[in-house]
Symmetry: C2
Subunit: 197 residues, 2 copies
């Protein structure tokens, strides 16, 4: 990696928690300069715009979250158990993430209007999460671990909706109870309506 | 209502869609001046700060959403059916709201750090929504319409988490399917695990 690339990576890592905590609009150039110790010119030598830096920072924060949530999900385990493991990771693991909470939740609404670059990254992140979960369901159906008439896209969307919504409720109420309820609810749903009998 | 109060109300109504679409940080004073036709001095004659105007605008947008979502829920209907009606209203009614989508979802993350006035309003709005739903569940338990061992707070949190999370997924993917799935999932949950048998 060239020195320029190293600096670029370092800026992204330092900018990621700022954007994740304060949002795109809430992040001032001065915040980025303070976090990185660089002047405006130094920052813009590596990024064409604030939008580009925000998009790279989002990708970095999201990749970190994906890695944490996938912990223990590899391998050839039962599909339902792997879905439950991801849910457990989402609810219970709070270390190793970029500070500020789930990048998807933080950025989804922020990027909703007028920020095309960031919006595209957020949409791609959500799509790939949904596809990963749907792929596990489809594999489970092939292996006879999941009910034959299951809808992989629907199951994936229900899991993500439940978790992200519960995270929002938990953040607003400053109480993790909604996350625990979502976890237990999804476990029950997967056991009763998804797992093959 | 005095002329001053009328002007104040009009400013709140005109500011509400701006804040709801662009967020607190994304709303510039110039946007508010353009929407209301007032100069800075005119705006600050009625509100002590941008925070105060944003908080009033949120309350206005939220009150509108509450009214729309409560449509047809009054009266002495069966508790499970009233919960289903609220879910249906949330998913299906898209008119009569302040433009920009659900004020709670829009404002929850935005107000997360550093904006104490707005954060308090958002928390109050969420709490009152959860309490309204929990009260319906408790009434249903008393009347024998809902299972005796139900947890009213848990059921309320699951409904809100599902709906708000599905709304986020729908907004990011620009596809309403996740909302429809959440509705059907919650109907199934209420019929199978909540309604008294």
């Amino acid at each position: 990696m060239s020195k320029g690339q190293q600096t670029r990576e370092r800026i992204i890592q330092l900018a990621a928690p700022i954007f994740n905590k304060h949002g795109y609009e809430g992040t001032a150039l001065s915040d980025l300069m303070e976090a990185t110790g660089l002047e405006k010119g130094g920052l813009y030598r590596h990024f064409a715009s604030k939008q580009e830096l925000a998009a790279e920072a989002f990708d970095f924060a999201w990749a970190t979250a994906v890695r944490v949530r996938a912990d223990g999900m590899d391998g050839s385990g039962n599909a339902v158990d792997r879905l439950k493991r991801m849910i457990q990771n989402f609810v219970e693991i709070r270390t190793g993430l970029v500070p500020g909470g789930c990048p998807l939740l933080n950025t989804a609404i922020d990027a909703d209007d007028g920020n095309a670059v960031l919006r595209e990254r957020v949409q791609k992140a959500l799509d790939s999460w949904l596809e990963r979960l749907a792929a596990i369901v489809k594999q489970g159906m092939k292996r006879g671990e999941i009910q034959k008439n299951a809808d992989a896209s629907e199951i994936a969307a229900l899991i993500v909706s439940n978790l992200e919504g519960a995270l929002m409720v938990s953040r607003v109420s400053r109480n993790r109870q909604a996350m625990e309820w979502a976890k237990l609810h999804l476990y029950g749903y997967l056991e009763q309506s998804v797992r093959a009998r």
